[in-house]
Every structure is written in structure tokens, then in C-alpha cells.
């Protein structure tokens, strides 16, 4: 039997071209000298672009920032998400409405949410937080200057917390009422129930939330672009923003492409080690 790739698997072929085209182009650009401000410098660069980038302190900072963003946002959304969905499960008065309110930030697009936080809440003069601090006689915080990375983490976590809550609520609905009642009869209080029955039950859901957020938060861009534009200094520059900076602020296409390739490698490292670990965990039972 002859395998006709093009006619038997058209989708795969299209997908390959779709993915491979840009990838090959990026690899090509990352290996040449290509700066829009200086078109006369050209020719094969070898690993020069990579070398330049890897030895640049901005690059090391951006890797570090990327990891910090990823870890903190996932940590915050998972922990808070679990607590909130557990609370929502407790037959609270007005629980339905609360659920809706908690989920609504998910429908706000990142740029808009960043602007809301920047101008409405975190503004050092007119912001609501400044007003609240003032009520207690505390000095205002200039969020994006004093704790820039922390501010971004807060904004993205606020945006993504609903996602975690939604997944956890869905997952907890599959827990049978009888199991909850049995644990009550067995003398498990809230703490024991949460850690010994609720958490193990949500294991897979937690895995899914971590995995999906890993994929999305490696490329946080809109929130950084609209608030701090990577600064002050390099404090909020992550890999995605570094690539943007190289390409569209420094007009260094070669360097930007090298950054792109490094991001891909970085994403793959995350994917291979962490995602596999989680996926394995999820398959195990």
C-alpha cells in the first residue's frame, strides 16, 4: 500500500507548512546580520546574534522575569482558585451571584484589564488603592515603579483567577454528595476534608490549570506593553517582550529572531520537563 501523504493527510501537511515556514524563516534570520537601521551591515552572522543575546544581561533578566511571572501567577491562581471554589461549594447565601462576579474578569481582555488596573486602581495619584491607603494615613504606592513585576503578577492573576475557579468548580461537581456526607460522619472537619479528600479529587483539574497557564503565561505581552513597557530598566522585561524590543525598538531583526528561537527552546524545556511530569501524573489514575 502506497502512502500518499498529501492526499491522505492534507491537514497535517498544511499544519507542517504553516508551522515550519515561519520557523525556518526565523532560524534563517537569526543566522544573518539584519538591522533595519543599518542596511549596509549584512551577510552571514553564524552564532553571533545568539552570542550577543546570551551574554546580554537583559536576556538573563528576561529569563528570570519570565520564570518569576509564570511561577507566581500559577501559584496565586491555583491557591486562591482552590480556596474560592471550596467556599462556593459550601451552600453560601448568594453563592450563585458570587460565582458570577468572580468569574466575570475572565471576559475582560488583557489590554483593557491592564488599563483598568493602571489608571483606575494602581495610579499613584488618582488610583483607588491610593485613596484606600490614604484612609489609613498611609503613603501611596507607586505600583509600577516600586513593585513593577509584582503589579503585573497581580493584574494577570486577577485576569486568570476566574479560569482556575471555573475549572475547579466544574471538577468539584463530580464529587458525590455521599462522599461529602461520609466524610462528615467519619469526623473530617473542613481542614481534613480540604486536604485529604477535596485536593486529591481535584488533582487532575489542578494539573490542567497549571498546564494551560504555563502555555499562556510564557508569552505575557499585552499587560507589560500597556503598563510598564518592560521597565523600569529591565524589571518587567520577559522573553516575549525582549523579542519585541529587539525587533521593533532596536530594529535588529537578526537579534530578535535569535530571541525568538531561544524562546522556543525555553518553551520546549518547560514543555518537556514540566508538562510531561504533570501529564504523567494525570494519566496515573
Amino acid at each position: 500500500m502506497k502512502l500518499r501523504v498529501l492526499s491522505d493527510y492534507p491537514a497535517i501537511v498544511v499544519l507542517f507548512i504553516w508551522m515550519l515556514g515561519p520557523l525556518i524563516a526565523t532560524i534563517y534570520y537569526s543566522l544573518i546580520r539584519y538591522n533595519l537601521l543599518n542596511p549596509r551591515i549584512k551577510g552571514f552572522a553564524g552564532i553571533e546574534n545568539y552570542e550577543f543575546l546570551l551574554t546580554d544581561f537583559v536576556f538573563t533578566d528576561s529569563i528570570y522575569n519570565s520564570i518569576q511571572l509564570l511561577g507566581s501567577i500559577i501559584g496565586i491562581t491555583v491557591v486562591l482558585g482552590l480556596l474560592i471554589s471550596y467556599l462556593l461549594d459550601q451552600d453560601l447565601y448568594g453563592g450563585r451571584l458570587l460565582q458570577l462576579v468572580i468569574i466575570s474578569p475572565f471576559f475582560v481582555m488583557p489590554t483593557v484589564s491592564a488599563l483598568i488596573w493602571k489608571n483606575l486602581l494602581m495610579h499613584p495619584v488618582n488610583g483607588y488603592f491610593t485613596y484606600l491607603l490614604g484612609l489609613f494615613g498611609l503613603p501611596p504606592i507607586d505600583w509600577f515603579a516600586d513593585i513593577p513585576l509584582g503589579s503585573i503578577i497581580i493584574i494577570v492573576s486577577w485576569n486568570w483567577l476566574p479560569f482556575a475557579v471555573l475549572v475547579f468548580i466544574t471538577a468539584q461537581q463530580s464529587m458525590s454528595l455521599e462522599i461529602k456526607e461520609a466524610s462528615k460522619m467519619d469526623g473530617a472537619g473542613h481542614l481534613a476534608f480540604f486536604f485529604q479528600i477535596y485536593l486529591p479529587h481535584l488533582g487532575k483539574a489542578i494539573g490542567a490549570v497549571v498546564m494551560i497557564q504555563m502555555i499562556f503565561h510564557l508569552n505575557i505581552f499585552a499587560e507589560i506593553f500597556t503598563t510598564t513597557t518592560g521597565g523600569p530598566g529591565t524589571q518587567t522585561t520577559n522573553l516575549a517582550f525582549l523579542v519585541y524590543r529587539k525587533a521593533l525598538l532596536d530594529f535588529d531583526i537578526g537579534g530578535a529572531s535569535a530571541g525568538g528561537i531561544i524562546s522556543i527552546v525555553f518553551a520546549n524545556i518547560v514543555a518537556i520537563f514540566l508538562l510531561r511530569m504533570i501529564a504523567k501524573n494525570m494519566n496515573s489514575d
Partner: protein, 334 residues
């Protein structure tokens, strides 16, 4: 130390009154079965005793002490659920040991108690398995194991066998009865299966629409049902009810005769009828006979070897001393 007393207990969900008012005494060591049709409030009553539902009115006493508002875990009762309610991510060992762990018992003691329970229930080989690696009967035994390790004052069972196949059900029924003999602990058992009720109970509580229709030993209920509902519910196949002339001859609105208390003859008898379908069970045969002047066919039990054809005319006579009489409120006339 396991007597339970319900005094004027009533329960409503919102404005739906599910249990109007129940008074019941369960004595120490008794095996009490709640039986009744679906929706009659059996589970609700059991859950009130367990503390999983709040009592709307009335009192629940254990050994004379008021326990109405005590948390479920504090009541010293163990419950076995219809769906087993095992913790899926814990091994059998952890499942059985869970209530002891929650009570803060030292590990070595827990291990010993789990071993002991596993031995009683033939689960020793399966201690490291997860619930999903067990058969239905084994899961049910784990659920029972989890109940017995705590040495509760009483066991509560809510239709524990209804998810098992018929053969296993009979087996587990015997095992639970055996367990009751060994432990001598009070047990309250909910079922809608009147055969289970008859075979297991020291005392049957028949419920309908949240009301207790009658309380008594299985034979009491069989011999002297208080009303039409109990008469129709206890006994298989169901008691035959006749109205009209036959009933007024006994000075009653309705009379009832059990299928096993009717004599058949091919030549003469009190009632004339035509043979309808018959069910051959081997040991017995149940004939459905269309009697003149009665709408519903009568069920009659005969021995297994009887040969009668469909449509044949036969004569039936009830055993007069076993005829149950009911007035126009459905109450028994004695």
C-alpha cells in the same frame, strides 16, 4: 448503650412537609428495618438520625440523652451508603482507617483495628487496592469495614445492597445478618424491598408519605396488618383485595386474602373463576384467576406441579380464619 428514641420528629424541606410527625423507639441491639415505597421518607428519616439533615421539630434521643443538634461525627453512629461512598484515591486500608485517623488514634492502633476489620470481612488480600479495583460486593464490604472500625453505637444502612446483583444481594444480606449476630450492635436498615425487610428485621417500620403505618415484628405485620397499605406492602406476592358483596358478607368494606391462603378445587368452591396466566417457579406456581364479580384478577399460590390450562374454570375458597377485614377508612377490623 444503643437505644434511639424519636419524639415527635418532623421534617420539611422549605415548605414541603416530608415527615409530618414520627415517634419511634429503637431498642439496644435491635435490627430495625425502614421499609416503604419510593419517596416515603425512609432515607430522610435515617439522615435525620444520622444528623445529615436538621430536624424541623421534635427530639432525637440516644440512650435518653438529647442529641437533636449534635454534629454527625459526634453522635457515634456509622453509616453505609447506597453508592458505598468510598474515597476513590485512598487504598482500602486508608479508607477503613480514615475515621480512626480523624479521631486522632495512633497509627499502630489504627493498623491493628484495620487488620481486624479486614479479617472479619474477608478483605485482608485487598488492603492495598484502590476502590475502583474492587467488585461491587467487595466495595460494599469496605464500606461496612469503615463503619465497624469505629465501634459505633449504631449502624445506619441506606439501601446498601441495591447496586448489587440478585445472587450477591442474598449473600451480603446473610453477611450483614451474621455481622449483627456477632457485634450485637443496634442497626437501622433502609430498604424498599419487602423481602429484605422480612428476612432481616427484628422490627419492621412501614412508612408511607412520611408517616409510620405500622411497627412490629415481620410475623406480626404478616399476620395482622393494621391497614390496607401494610397489608398490600408486606408479603409476596401481594395480598388479594376484594370489595362489594364478598366484603359485605364479612361486614367489611374490603377483605384481603393472601395468595397462599386460598384453596383451589376443580369441582366446587366459594368463588368461580377462569385461569389466566400462571407463573411457574418450580417449587410454587402462581395462578392469576379472574373471579366473577371482581375487577382485578386474584393471585393464588399452589404447588409447583399443578397442571391447569389457560381459560379453564376453577373454584376458589379462602381459609376463613385467614381473611383480613378492613373498614371504609382502610383500617383493619379485628
Amino acid at each position: 448503650m444503643g437505644s434511639i428514641n424519636l419524639v415527635g420528629v418532623s421534617k420539611s424541606f422549605g415548605d414541603v412537609l416530608v415527615i409530618p410527625s414520627v415517634d419511634l423507639e429503637v431498642n439496644e441491639g435491635e435490627f430495625v428495618v425502614f421499609v416503604g415505597p419510593s419517596g416515603s421518607g425512609k432515607s430522610t428519616l435515617l439522615r435525620l438520625i444520622a444528623g445529615l439533615e436538621e430536624v424541623s421539630k421534635g427530639r432525637i434521643e440516644f440512650n435518653g440523652q438529647d442529641m437533636t443538634n449534635l454534629a454527625p461525627a459526634k453522635r457515634g453512629l456509622a453509616m453505609v451508603f447506597q453508592s458505598y461512598a468510598l474515597y476513590p484515591h485512598m487504598s482500602v486500608r486508608e479508607n477503613i482507617g480514615f475515621p480512626l485517623k480523624m479521631a486522632g488514634m495512633p497509627k499502630s492502633e489504627i493498623a491493628a483495628k484495620v487488620q481486624e476489620a479486614a479479617k472479619i470481612l474477608n478483605l485482608s488480600e485487598y488492603l492495598e487496592r484502590k476502590p475502583r479495583q474492587l467488585s461491587g460486593g467487595q466495595r460494599q464490604r469496605v464500606a461496612i469495614g469503615r463503619a465497624i472500625v469505629r465501634q459505633p453505637k449504631a449502624f445506619l444502612f441506606d439501601e446498601p445492597l441495591s447496586n448489587l446483583d440478585a445472587a450477591l444481594r442474598i449473600n451480603m444480606r446473610l453477611e450483614i445478618m451474621e455481622l449483627h449476630q456477632q457485634l450485637k450492635t443496634t442497626m437501622i436498615y433502609v430498604t424498599h424491598d419487602q423481602v429484605e425487610a422480612m428476612t432481616m428485621a427484628d422490627k419492621i417500620v412501614v412508612l408511607d408519605h412520611g408517616n409510620i403505618e405500622q411497627v412490629g415484628s415481620p410475623l406480626d405485620l404478616y399476620r395482622a396488618p393494621d391497614n390496607l397499605f401494610v397489608a398490600g406492602f408486606i408479603g409476596a406476592p401481594k395480598m388479594n383485595f376484594l370489595t362489594g358483596g364478598e366484603a359485605s358478607r364479612h361486614n367489611a368494606t374490603t377483605i384481603g386474602v393472601r395468595p397462599e391462603h386460598v384453596q383451589i378445587s376443580k369441582s366446587s368452591g366459594l368463588w368461580t373463576g377462569k385461569v389466566g396466566v400462571s407463573e411457574h417457579l418450580g417449587s410454587d406456581t402462581f395462578l392469576h384467576v379472574n373471579v366473577e364479580g371482581q375487577q382485578a384478577p386474584l393471585t393464588v399460590r399452589t404447588d409447583g406441579e399443578v397442571q391447569l390450562n389457560y381459560g379453564e374454570t376453577i373454584y376458589l375458597s379462602p381459609e376463613e380464619d385467614k381473611v383480613h377485614k378492613f373498614d371504609n377508612n382502610g383500617k383493619a377490623i379485628r
